[in-house]
Every structure is written in structure tokens, then in C-alpha cells.
């Protein structure tokens, strides 16, 4: 069976290479059948990669330890769901997942674009083939999941921290995002290679970009949640290079999603948009590379593998190649329109872009700084949270403000009159909220206060927009408020879906601010029966119990929790000791307050011989808003993503007219 896997991957490599070479030749010499043949090669590559994936999955489910990969990442007592997730738990398997998703998306993109963007396909196919060739080559020659060995009695098992439902979804979700960004990139390059300067590539890939961006966002949120509940240090984001690896392409994609709207409305910023999509894709590749090589010292370190060098080479190739292409097409990309006013929606979008890209580059700098300093000084100097948090505040607060102002400003030009009227209600709400918070004591952190006030401003302006729109809709068509609301959103999906997403981001910001600027931390060693007070909670250590779990021995401290003097139940916190993997893990106890979104977070630092336990207790206000924002984010994205029949018709008509013209 491993031979079948290896053969299937070799087939994938051959097909991808054919798609690249034949596709490029066909596009350059305008040969129809060859171009079609190259397309088919991409589709077939999905098939052969699928077969290889089935082989690996089968081996995992059979506990076939003659596969080195299976032996390294599973064990007999591992529950089935985690056995399946071991597919992407290791380096080789995760590369296979990447290729599987890539070929799958490529196939889908090809089939869907045959109707909507047939002119771009000839050049899109070789680009997709190029990326697929690289990953297939890695899988065939450098890092194969189908290595065999003499089967040991049992496998090494999965790292206990990865045995968690979140860790099952988080990597595939992120990969959907990373790989998803390949499609807009390929279409952008395809458009440039075909010397097209119209917005076809943007329109054809708009939903892909939105989808990939959503997947990246949700994937990150899942990862953060996993870190919060499983790793258990009290935080959810450590600015570790691997975490940043996913954040950077997300920020670049966010900027891209906004700036394409300017190209759509005004025909400007064509060069900026192409550069942004290149940046997003290269960061996605870079992110994949970061999580695989030991180049940058990080908590998530990996074995120094030859893969790193190859990845770096490929990223350089892509970056240089695409930038060179852009430069060569510069003359036709330059637009003639100028921005009319500094106070217009275009302007706010531009500022938003600048801030997002600045934040993105700042994080990038922080991530590669150790390497740079090593080259210059001879030793790695790392930067950590203070650096990142500083810039997050500097760029984040203005971004919050822009999110509030943007929706209230019209395109092209907004007179100060209109602005003043639009601002009145939302700004008023914001100020009121600010004052109330100040009275309630939020002044302990002026950044927190500022962030909250801006957040209120954003929520106020979004609410105002919904109200204004529904009112206008109702004035036009009559009917109930609810019907008008649904119609309004249905007819303007991108706009109102976008507003919902903004609301989600604000919830995220509020959650982050609440749990970082206004949290409380206490450490005490307690003997059974003793109590410690943290903020308005009283935590009493009752007793220590020991249980035998499926694959671990569990030690739990039972705690009695009182809030404001009243008992609110018990909490368990402790450690697990995993038999097969010979490791312990922290199992923190979290009590979430349903009304305030606040968490009481108890870490069992150390269980002492004499029965006392060293506890670290944190109270994190509003932290659950972070997880809730994920749902709101998803809803907003779905609304924006939902296909709109009217828009499809209009675009189809436009391109059909012109194709009829060409044929005649």
C-alpha cells in the first residue's frame, strides 16, 4: 500500500508539472486543445492526490505501524477521531493535506471559471501548476508520508496537548485559508500575464478571497481558544512566530478586501491591489514555512529539516517573479483617476489599508528580527509581547476609529455638513459610554477606556447604519420593519455583511481589552481547606482526587467558588499524566460567567508532596466576547459571501456581450 501512495504522489507531481509546462506553452502560443489538456491535468492531480490521501488515512485507521508516519503520530489506545487528525499532525501529512486542498481548490476554480472567466484560465492554470509542482515535489522527494519501517508493537502516540477537539479543526481550517489565497494570487498573475487590466480577476476571485480570509480568521480564533483552555497559561495569544504566521496573511487579506472596493468603484489602486495579493500569498507560504523549519527560535520549534531551505527558495522565486511581472506591466496598470477628497470613503479605506499593512509589516519585522540580528550581531535577539502590544495599540486604536467613521462617510466626497449630521448619534453614544465607564472605574487603563469608547462609537455607527437603511427601505416599499430589514440586507449583502463583520471585530477588541487591561492575577499556595480571594471571588481548596482516564492518570483539585460571597459551584483544576507519551499536561479549571462574560481561571502550578498546592488564579473580564465574536464574524462573512443573483446576471451579461464581439 505505501507503494500506491508513493506512486499516486509521483503521478500528482507529473500532472502538476505538465499543467505548468504545457499550460504555459499553450497560453503563450494560444493553443486551445493543449490549454484544455493542461486544465485536465490539474483536475486529474486532485484525483491522484486524493488516492494518496486515502492510502494514508487507511493506514492510520488500520494502525499500520509499518508506515513510519503512522507509528510516529498514533498509538493503539488513541481514540479514533484523534487518529484521523494525526493525518495533519505531522510534517509530511500536513504537506499532503496542503496539496490535497490545493488541487481540490484548483479543480474547483478551473471548473467554475470556465464559464465566468475563460479568458484568464490559460495563464491561471500554469501558475496553479507551479505551486502544486512545488508541494508535490516536496512530498515525493523531500518529505514523504509513505516511508516504511519494521513495524513496532505500538506507536509513539499523539502529543497529549493535541488531543483536543479544537486541534482537530484548527489546522485544516487554517490550511483552507492559506491554500485559498493561492487562487486570487493565480488569477492576479494570470491577468497580468494576459495583459488584462480590468477587474475580471478580482470579480472572479472575490468569493475565494472572502472564504480564505474567513477560514484564516476562524482558524486563528480556534487556535487561540485551544491555547487558552488547553495549554493553560492564562492567555490566548503569545505573539509566537507561528501564531503570527497566520495573523500576517490575514491582515494583508483584510487590507486587500477593502482596497479592491476602491478599484471597483473608482478604477484606482490597481498596482496596490496586485501587490497586496502577492503579499498575502507570500505571507501564507512564509507562514507554512515558519511552522516547518527551525529557522526562527520559537516555542513551536521543529526539527531542523531540509524542507526549510526548499521553502525559502520557493518563496523567493514567487516573490521575485511576481514583482518582476508587476513591474513589467506597470505602464498599463497605472490609472488616470485621482482621489477627489481626503474626506471620502476612499480615503478612509486607504488609511485603513495603510494601517493594516503597517501592522502586518511590523509583525513581520518582529518575526524575522532574530535572523537579521544574528546576521548583523552574531546572536539572535528576540522581541516579545511588549514590542507587539505597543504596535497593536498604535495601529489598532486608529483602525477602530476608522471602522466607526468609514460607514458614516459617503464615497467620493463628503461635505462637513453631512458628516456632522451622521456623526451626531454614534459619537454621542460613544461619549456617553465613555463617561459611564470612567465613573465605573475603567480609568485604571486609559488605553482600555479609549478602546472601549471607540468600540462604542463603531457599534453606534453600525447600528445607526442599519436603522437608517431599514427606515429608508421601509419608506420605499412599506411593510414591516422586519421585512424591510431582511430586504435591505438581502439587496446589499456586501455592505451589511461587512458591517456585521466589523461588529464582530469590535466584540473581539472589547474582549481582548477587557481581559488584558482589566484582569486580576493572584498566586498562593493553599493547604486543603484554605481559601484565597481574587477580585470578587473566593476560591477554597477542598481536596485532591485521582482518577484513571482513557490514556492518562488525572489529578484534580476540587475547588469551592464563591462570587461576591455567594456560592456558585465547584471547579476542578489539575494535571494529567499520560502513560504512553510519558508527559504531563496542565488541565486548567475555567468558570465562565454567563452574564458578564468573565472567566475565573485556575491553574494548578505545582502539587506538593505535603498536600499543598500552588495555585495561580486569574480573573479575566469579558474574555468570552472573543469567542462569541467568532460566531458573529462567521455570520457576517456568510452574508457577504452569499451569491447575489442580480450581480451574477450583470457581470455575466457584460462579459458575454464582449465575447460575442470577439467572435464576430
Amino acid at each position: 500500500m505505501p507503494e500506491l501512495g508513493r506512486a499516486a504522489l509521483a503521478l500528482s507531481l507529473g500532472l502538476a508539472l505538465y499543467a505548468l509546462v504545457a499550460g504555459a506553452y499553450a497560453a503563450a502560443t494560444r493553443r486551445r486543445r493543449l490549454a484544455r489538456s493542461a486544465q485536465n491535468a490539474l483536475l486529474a492531480a486532485f484525483g491522484s492526490t486524493g488516492v494518496a490521501s486515502i492510502v494514508l488515512l487507511g493506514a492510520l485507521l488500520r494502525n499500520d505501524f509499518s508506515f513510519t508516519y503512522v507509528a510516529e503520530h498514533t498509538s493503539r489506545e488513541l481514540p479514533t477521531p484523534y487518529t484521523i487528525s494525526a493525518f495533519w499532525g505531522g510534517q509530511e501529512g500536513s504537506l499532503l493535506l496542503w496539496l490535497l486542498i490545493l488541487t481540490g481548490f484548483s479543480a474547483a476554480a478551473v471548473v467554475l471559471s470556465r464559464r465566468s472567466a475563460p479568458d484568464l484560465l490559460p495563464w491561471v492554470v500554469p501558475i496553479l501548476g507551479l505551486v502544486a509542482t512545488f508541494f508535490a515535489f516536496m512530498l515525493v522527494a523531500v518529505s514523504s508520508p509513505f516511508q516504511t519501517q519494521l513495524a513496532p508493537a505500538d506507536g509513539a502516540g499523539l502529543n497529549p496537548s493535541l488531543q483536543n477537539p479544537y486541534m482537530m479543526i484548527h489546522p485544516p481550517c487554517l490550511y483552507l485559508g492559506y491554500v485559498g489565497l493561492t487562487i486570487p494570487f493565480a488569477f492576479a498573475m494570470g491577468a497580468l500575464l494576459s495583459r488584462r487590466t480590468d477587474e475580471l480577476w478580482i470579480v472572479a476571485t472575490r468569493r475565494w478571497t472572502l472564504f480564505a480570509w474567513t477560514a484564516l480568521g476562524i482558524g486563528q480564533l480556534l487556535g487561540s481558544h485551544w491555547a487558552y483552555v488547553e495549554v493553560g497559561w492564562g492567555g490566548y495569544y503569545a505573539w509566537d512566530p507561528v501564531e503570527n504566521a497566520a495573523l500576517m496573511p490575514w491582515l494583508a487579506s483584510t487590507a486587500f478586501l477593502h482596497s479592491v472596493m476602491i478599484q471597483e468603484k473608482r478604477g484606482m489602486l490597481k498596482v496596490w491591489n496586485v501587490l497586496l495579493v502577492i503579499l498575502a500569498f507570500c505571507l501564507a507560504l512564509f507562514g507554512t514555512f515558519l511552522t516547518r523549519s527551525g529557522v526562527i527560535s520559537s516555542i513551536h520549534s521543529f526539527t531542523q529539516s531540509p524542507l526549510g531551505g526548499w521553502f525559502l527558495g520557493f518563496i523567493c522565486l514567487i516573490t521575485l517573479g511576481s514583482v518582476a511581472l508587476v513591474i513589467s506591466r506597470l505602464p498599463i496598470l497605472r490609472s488616470k483617476t485621482r482621489m477627489e477628497s481626503l474626506v471620502s470613503r476612499e480615503a478612509t479605506f486607504l488609511y485603513n489599508n495603510l494601517l493594516l499593512v503597517a501592522l502586518c509589516l511590523t509583525i513581520l519585522w518582529g518575526v524575522v528580527f532574530p535572523l537579521v540580528s544574528e546576521a548583523v550581531h552574531g546572536e539572535q535577539i528576540t522581541v516579545s509581547s511588549p514590542y507587539y502590544n505597543f504596535f497593536l495599540r498604535i495601529f489598532g486604536l486608529p483602525l477602530l476609529l476608522l471602522m466607526a467613521i468609514g460607514p458614516l462617510v459617503a464615497w467620493r466626497r463628503a461635505s462637513l455638513r453631512s458628516l456632522g449630521r451622521s456623526f451626531a448619534w454614534p459619537a454621542g453614544i460613544a461619549l456617553a459610554v465613555g463617561v459611564v465607564l470612567l465613573i465605573l472605574g475603567a480609568g485604571s487603563s486609559w488605553i482600555g477606556l479609549l478602546a472601549y469608547t471607540f468600540s462604542a462609537f463603531v457599534l453606534g455607527s453600525i447600528g445607526y447604519e442599519f436603522v437608517r437603511g431599514t427606515r429608508a427601505r421601509r419608506a420605499l416599499t412599506g411593510g414591516t420593519w422586519a421585512a424591510a430589514f431582511v430586504e435591505l440586507v438581502g439587496r446589499n449583502r456586501r455592505r451589511y455583511g461587512g458591517y456585521i463583520v466589523h461588529a464582530a471585530i469590535v466584540l473581539l477588541a472589547i474582549g481582548i481589552v477587557g481581559s488584558s487591561a482589566y484582569d486580576t492575577v493572584r498566586e498562593r499556595t493553599l493547604a486543603p481547606g484554605q481559601t484565597m480571594a481574587v477580585s470578587h471571588y473566593d476560591v477554597k481548596y477542598d481536596q485532591l482526587v485521582r482518577r484513571n482516564g482513557a490514556n492518562a492518570t488525572e489529578f484534580r483539585a476540587i475547588l469551592d467558588v464563591k462570587k461576591n460571597g455567594r456560592s456558585v459551584g465547584t471547579l476542578e483544576s489539575g494535571k494529567n499524566s499520560y502513560r504512553a507519551e510519558q508527559q504531563t499536561s496542565n488541565e486548567v479549571g475555567i468558570r465562565s460567567d454567563p452574564l458578564t462574560g468573565e472567566d475565573l481561571y485556575v491553574i494548578t502550578d505545582q502539587i506538593n508532596q505535603n498536600g499543598t498546592i500552588a495555585f495561580k488564579v486569574l480573573v479575566k473580564p469579558l474574555v468570552n466576547l472573543i469567542w462569541i465574536s467568532g460566531f458573529v464574524f462567521l455570520i457576517g462573512s456568510l452574508v457577504a459571501l452569499w451569491p447575489s443573483a442580480a450581480e451574477q446576471r450583470r457581470l455575466a451579461l457584460r462579459y458575454r456581450e464582449l465575447r460575442a464581439l470577439a467572435r464576430a
Partner: protein, 112 residues
């Protein structure tokens, strides 16, 4: 303009990451990266956990470390760790709660 600002902030705010063999005679705060060796003794929550660290690769001499704070789950002899602090009189005094372990493989953060 942004570049200069970034450069300044990162240089000013960064912490050098060095291995035990480079520690000799060094003053100031550093991040020490190396493998745990010897037999760890003591209580990190009380008077301090005492252990030794040597270079990741190579058999250089080891440096004694005393650490107070949370100890990550993966901490044990032979594991690669990172801890911040400074060298004082031949003993590396670690900053509280700054001990981190490196997971030997996979994408796992092992902090406390």
C-alpha cells in the same frame, strides 16, 4: 520612516538569545537557551528550582540556574528550554515565570 522607528524599538526592546557557552562574563538581561542537565532540585514555588543548562549541541560546561515561578509541563532533563534573567556571581538568576520549554516536534506551545 516606519522602518527607522521599527528598527529603534526592536533594538531597544529586544532580548539577546544566547547559549550557556556564550554566557561567561556577560552582564545584563539575556534569554538563555539550552538543554537541561544535572538533577533539578528545589521548589520553584518556594526557595527556587535549581538546575543546570548546557549548550543544545556540544558538550560545553554547564551553567547553574535558579528559577522561581511556574514550571512548564514538559520540563525535564534533556529538554530544550528558554529562560530569561541575568548572570550574577556565576549563578544565572532567572526572571520569574519566564521558563519555557521547546516541544521536540509539532506545533505545540509549551508555556505556563
Amino acid at each position: 520612516m516606519l522602518a527607522i522607528f521599527l528598527l529603534y524599538v526592536s533594538v531597544a526592546g529586544g532580548t539577546p538569545s544566547i547559549q550557556p557557552s556564550q554566557l561567561h562574563g556577560r552582564t545584563g538581561d539575556v534569554a538563555l537557551v539550552g538543554k537541561v542537565t544535572g538533577s533539578p532540585a528545589g521548589d520553584a514555588q518556594a526557595t527556587g528550582l535549581r538546575f543546570r543548562m548546557r549548550d543544545v549541541s556540544g558538550q560545553s560546561a554547564s551553567v547553574p540556574v535558579v528559577y522561581r515561578g511556574s514550571v512548564p509541563d514538559m520540563f525535564k532533563v534533556g529538554r530544550e528550554v528558554r529562560v530569561e534573567g541575568r548572570l550574577q556571581n556565576g549563578l544565572f538568576i532567572a526572571k520569574k515565570d519566564s521558563l519555557r520549554t521547546k516541544c521536540p516536534s509539532k506545533y505545540v506551545a509549551k508555556k505556563t
